[in-house]
């Protein structure tokens, strides 16, 4: 192989790579740009054909309308509380569970936990509604936090099982020989190595919880509604209103999109680091 051949191949490889990157990323970019465009147009431009990408007049009022017509801040705080608590609790019980299952190779217990994830979400609704009513918890955020655990716990456990399965046993075994308890081993040996995995589990649990809306429909009242449910309610405007609808959608999605950009380094770095050690 001559040097020139190699470099030509490399250049072609580079072009091919960039082309593939472009092809892979463009559906996401185009979609969100189009969503932004919809949210900034008046109805007359939104329903125009051929479509108008950048309108002459920006309809900033779409955003103002959404903020004015809904108690956006209340719902935002509700969402934060529900997602935050459900994810926090899930990490608390799910990370040790993932560790335990991975170390025991106890896939049978994993199946039990999987049942929660497999159960159709709709079938929780009526029984739990009646239960929470009996307990007098309706009207608070507690029912939603609890039912969101059904979503977050299995995700955390599953991610952590996969993660701990790839982290080395040797250090832990050495620590055990030195007289550490299993809890100490978990806390001081396994957990620090698994930090990047925790980030992935955390972020995925946040997404699933944040985006869930089916549970909220029945369990949320006027004061306890989460943002996706509130947005779905806006969505069903009794008029054709693509602009405000897209604006509302974008505003709800923005926190998670920002989280994506902000945390993607951690997700990816976590996966890479964990994997190198696991190799």
């Amino acid at each position: 192989m001559s040097l020139r051949q190699v470099s030509l191949r490399q250049i072609l490889g580079r072009i091919g790579l960039w082309l593939s990157v472009f092809v892979i990323v463009s559906p996401a970019i185009l979609f969100f740009l189009w969503m932004a465009s919809l949210s900034l147009k008046f109805e007359i431009d939104n329903a125009a054909y051929p479509p108008v990408f950048i309108p002459e007049n920006f309809a900033w009022k779409n955003y103002a309308d959404v903020l004015a017509s809904n108690r956006f801040l209340t719902y935002f705080v509700n969402s934060l509380i529900v997602t935050g608590s459900a994810t926090g609790l899930a990490m608390l019980v799910g990370v040790p569970a993932g560790y335990g299952i991975a170390r025991m190779a106890a896939h049978k217990s994993a199946v039990v936990i999987l049942i929660a994830r497999i159960t159709p979400g709709l079938s929780y609704l009526i029984p739990l509604f009646l239960l929470f009513q009996w307990l007098g918890l309706l009207g608070t955020l507690v029912p939603q936090i609890i039912i969101h655990l059904v979503v977050t716990v299995p995700i955390v456990i599953w991610i952590m099982i996969g993660y701990f399965e790839t982290t080395p046993l040797e250090l832990e075994e050495a620590a055990l020989i030195d007289g550490a308890t299993r809890w100490q081993v978990f806390r001081h040996v396994a957990l620090p190595i698994a930090k990047p995995g925790l980030a992935v589990a955390f972020i995925l649990a946040v997404i699933f919880s944040w985006n869930n809306f089916v549970f909220g429909i029945v369990l949320a009242g006027r004061e306890t509604r989460t943002l996706p449910v509130a947005v779905y309610n806006m969505i069903s405007f009794d008029q054709l209103s693509w602009g405000p609808l897209a604006a509302a959608a974008l505003m709800v999605t923005l926190p998670v999109l920002l989280l994506t950009v902000f945390a993607q380094r951690q997700i990816v770095a976590g996966l890479t680091a964990g994997a190198v050690k696991g190799g």
Binding site: Y49, L130, G139, I217, V218, I235, S236, D238, S241
Partner: protein, 440 residues
């Protein structure tokens, strides 16, 4: 203009109070004791839409009048229905007052006994102003609100007729007359259709379930009845087949592609873009059609009654009411709000905003109220429809199943299936469901 409107509206809203004060010349009666429940808080659950908007926009006036605090929220129709049913069936609903869709929920709510009887309150002069009497409600309204025993379980709030919207410009361009019969309409639709230009003669609901509301106009006008004397469903008969053939013809020959998935929203999008010449749907869409920021056809829309069929001329009618949960602890206070909701002032506002049509003749027939309606042609179509009003869905418990199953059959005919076969299949599927529900 708007200042003038507001002041007049305030006068109208005050009609109830004014009546109590004897200003309108009613014979002296015991006065409504508005402040009796001052300090009470009421919870109201509303379906999202112009009715709910109308309540929320002006409810402060009610609070000022009565001292009753009102906590209300609007939820999209489908979820609101679910939430109400789940909460009412649990016996401890979180609301006192519920907004119901008669055409879907009447039988269900009656049978379950979820609503409080208002008959006594209506006759109580300390709760009801003198102008509010049962006979002021239209026949359809009373049919909806009363149960078998003649008790008023709710107050009829707003009625929805189906009317024909048409694009005057497209009709003029092609020199087509406004159709008077369904056959003329189908022929006109075909004349107006020009796929090369992206113009279609007709648009309407093709979507399963939603389509039943439009189809029933055809069905009734072909002489169809939903139930026989024994309560058996009749939607596989010759009238249904004829109506479905018309439905199939209109939506396959002269409707935009994809109409099979259209609900009112998509239909309206076609119509406001000037891409559909005719549209049959509920009365409530005049405001968006006449809004120049949302519609390309503002000022060019004609409104008229649904064309007549060979065996009848009806306008499919649906309606909303407002009732009190039987489990509510504040029934009388709740009733005060209910009667305020259907008061002349609130009804006039609803009609003038184009958001709905009150069931009360004293509002619809009032020339003063009519003056405040922006689109006269629309109002005329509403008044004409009210004279040929007929319930657009059978009054049974499994209405939702009915709409889904027969609606799916209609949708299937749009892909070329035979109307008679599909209706027969749907009929076979639905009959046991109906029998089961009536037996239980």
């Amino acid at each position: 203009m708007s200042h003038h409107l507001i002041s007049r509206r305030q006068v109208l809203a005050g009609t109830a109070a004014a009546g109590a004060l004897g200003l309108t010349g009613f014979p002296a009666r015991a006065e409504v004791n508005w402040k009796k429940y001052s300090g009470t808080t009421l919870e109201v659950i509303l379906a999202k839409g112009p009715r709910g908007d109308n309540l929320q926009k002006y409810v402060k006036e009610f609070t000022d009048l009565t001292g009753i605090k009102v906590e209300s929220e609007q939820i999209p129709e489908q979820q609101q229905r679910q939430k109400c049913v789940i909460e009412l069936s649990s016996g401890k609903p979180s609301f006192d007052i519920v907004h119901i869709s008669y055409h879907v929920q009447k039988r269900q709510f009656e049978k379950a006994g979820w609503l409080a009887d208002m008959s006594g309150y209506l006759k109580d002069p300390s709760l009801t102003p003198p102008d509010l009497v049962e006979s002021d409600f239209s026949a359809a309204g009373l049919q909806y609100a009363r149960n078998d025993k003649g008790q008023m379980l709710s107050l009829p709030w707003s009625v929805d007729y189906f009317i024909l919207y048409y694009n005057k410009e497209l009709f003029q361009k092609k020199g087509v007359e406004i159709p008077k019969t369904l056959d003329e309409m189908a022929a006109a639709a075909e004349k107006l259709t020009d796929p090369k230009e992206g113009i279609y003669g007709f648009v309407g609901r093709g979507l399963r379930n939603a389509n039943m509301a439009m189809w029933s106009n055809f069905y009734l006008n072909y002489g169809g009845e939903f139930l026989d004397a024994k309560g058996n469903i009749l939607t596989d008969g010759p009238e249904a087949i004829e109506a479905t053939k018309l439905y199939q013809r209109l939506l396959t020959k002269s409707a935009p592609p994809g109409v099979v998935g259209f609900n009112w929203m998509e239909s309206m999008a076609s119509f406001t873009q000037g891409r559909a010449a005719m549209w049959i749907d509920a009365t409530g869409w005049a405001p968006p059609l006449e809004d120049p920021t949302a519609s390309r056809v503002a000022g060019k829309v004609g409104y008229t009654v649904v064309p007549a069929g060979p065996k009848g001329h009806f306008s499919s009618t649906y309606g909303d009411g407002i009732g009190i949960a039987a489990a509510s602890k504040n029934k009388e206070a709740a009733y005060l709000l209910c009667q305020w909701v259907v008061s002349k002032g609130q009804g006039a506002r609803l009609l003038q905003a184009g958001g709905g049509v009150p069931f009360r003749s004293s509002i619809v027939d009032d020339p003063e109220v009519a003056k405040g309606v922006k689109t006269k042609e629309w109002l005329q179509s509403v008044i004409d429809s009210s004279k040929i009003s007929k319930l657009g869905l059978p009054v049974i418990i499994p209405v939702a199943e009915f709409r889904d199953i027969v609606g799916a059959a209609l949708t299937t005919t749009l892909s070329g299936a035979d109307p008679a076969t599909e209706l027969k299949k749907a009929h076979e599927q639905f009959r046991p469901i109906l029998e089961r529900s009536e037996k239980a």
